[in-house]
Amino acid sequence: MIKIDNLTKKFGAHISLDNVSCEFNKNESIALMGANGAGKTTLIRSILGYYHPDEGSVAINGLDPIKHRINVLQEISFVPQLPPPIKLNIDELIQYISISANVDKEKIMHYANEMKLDLKANLNKSFFKLSGGMKQKLLIAISLAKKSTIIIYDEPTANLDPKARDDFYRLLKQNEEEKVLLFVTHRLEEVKDLVNRQIYMDLGKVVSDEKI
């Protein structure tokens, strides 16, 4: 599903990804780990088609994520580490997502409900005015409602309380079949029941890649 081939990405003199090659296939749940600056976020952003590689390539189902961004992004759900300060209200944000990505509004409501987030009471509130936990819950609900085959989570539980984390893992368990789940995390113990592969990165290289 995701094929990364000799990918190198530089920012000025700094090499963020150094000749990285790996493949992620259906039914794999991967914990992507490494110290700050190891290249995890650069790798994710390359998969999302945000970065132009200096060398090498990324292919999602055989497609270049930059040249075929619409087809590729239809298959990907992404939750960033820190929810961005989006000024749209919840209703407008859901409208943006449901029209652009053809996501059913009711599904977002359903998953928000499962995450114990009362969306109906907050529809006219700006997204950035929600608490950190509420923002994260909404982004998780959107990622699950999107029905993508690739789900990328960058430290998704950073703002969640223990109960919300349990809800999140329960929902993921129900939705992981036939998918690639990619977790960027510093805490393997949190996702160890979900993942079946562990990749460790350092200084822009994959230093270990093992099945669990």
Binding site: Y50, H52, I70, L73, F78, P84, I86, E92, I99
Partner: protein, 275 residues
């Protein structure tokens, strides 16, 4: 197309709620109100009176503040979203970069153009209510000029926004562009003219490729078709073309400048790393 309209619509809604938009609308609406309160329509200067006088004053002030308002409120639109990771999330959905970029431009254009237009419409309606003669030709010329001027600076702002990574730098560049076009070119060209180093026609040509300068000249051309207030410079302009052609150029040229910079900005946005 639905995504283009969606982006434009959401950007418009977001802008209408923003504090800068309230200030922006109050400034232009307030200007018109101030002119009426101050009795500008009753005064007569250089033969201009009534609503014509009011619109002339409005346009003279607009030429100074409209570009900087557009630049500072728009220049952070993409660079700001990039800065605070909004772009990273919003572009993770299947929207083409073309739809995102041009949708933002359309939404922002409506936001910046409507308040200046409405301020003029309010002046016309209030003037008509008071029984003043409505200078329709001036109103339509200014509508076109403001449209073209808004396009020019919106295009420049999006161009800056597309290549600058930090919104602070974008603001700095925007301010420089404004002050350069507003004052520096005038000062530099006047000093060159005084030194007699260059041909006058060349100096006037350089002045006229500045969208703010062409806006200024076109704005007075309807009151003063012979451009007598400009002195000998008028000969260089009106000898080369008729007043009608000059007015068309003064609308078409800034529009073309805006589209050119907006397109250049899009190419950079498309070719550069997105976040």
């Amino acid at each position: 197309m639905k995504n283009l309209y969606l982006i434009a619509y959401l950007d418009l809604k977001e802008s209408l709620r923003a504090k800068w938009f309230v200030v922006y609308s109050l400034v232009f609406g307030g200007l018109i109100a101030l002119f009426f309160i101050a009795g500008v329509t009753e005064s007569q200067v250089m033969g201009f009176s009534g609503l014509s006088r009011l619109l002339l004053m409005y346009i003279q002030i607009t030429i100074v503040i409209l570009p900087i308002f557009i630049l500072i409120t728009t220049v952070r639109s993409i660079s700001g979203d990039r800065d605070n990771h909004i772009l990273e999330y919003m572009l993770s959905f299947p929207i083409s970069l073309k739809q995102y970029y041009w949708g933002k431009i359309i939404g922002r254009f409506i936001t910046v153009y409507l308040p200046v237009l409405f301020a003029m419409v309010i002046a016309i309606v209030y003037g008509a209510f008071k029984g003043a003669d409505i200078p329709w030709s001036i109103f339509f010329l200014y509508t076109g000029l403001l449209f073209a001027m808004s396009s020019a600076f919106l295009g420049i702002a999006f161009f800056i926004s597309s290549f600058v990574k930090s919104s602070e730098v974008a603001l700095g560049i925007a301010f420089f562009v404004w002050i350069f076009l507003l004052a520096f070119i005038d000062i530099a060209l006047i000093s060159l003219m005084m030194q007699n180093r260059f041909n006058e026609e060349l100096i006037i040509f350089i002045a006229m490729i500045n969208p703010m300068e062409i806006f200024r000249v076109a704005a007075i051309s309807l009151f003063d078709p012979e451009l007598t207030v400009m002195g000998p410079v008028a000969f260089y302009i009106l000898d080369s073309m008729s007043q009608g052609v000059f007015v068309l150029i003064s609308i078409g040229y800034p529009l073309a400048v805006g589209l050119f910079f907006a397109f250049l900005g899009f190419k950079i946005f498309e070719k550069k790393d997105l976040v």
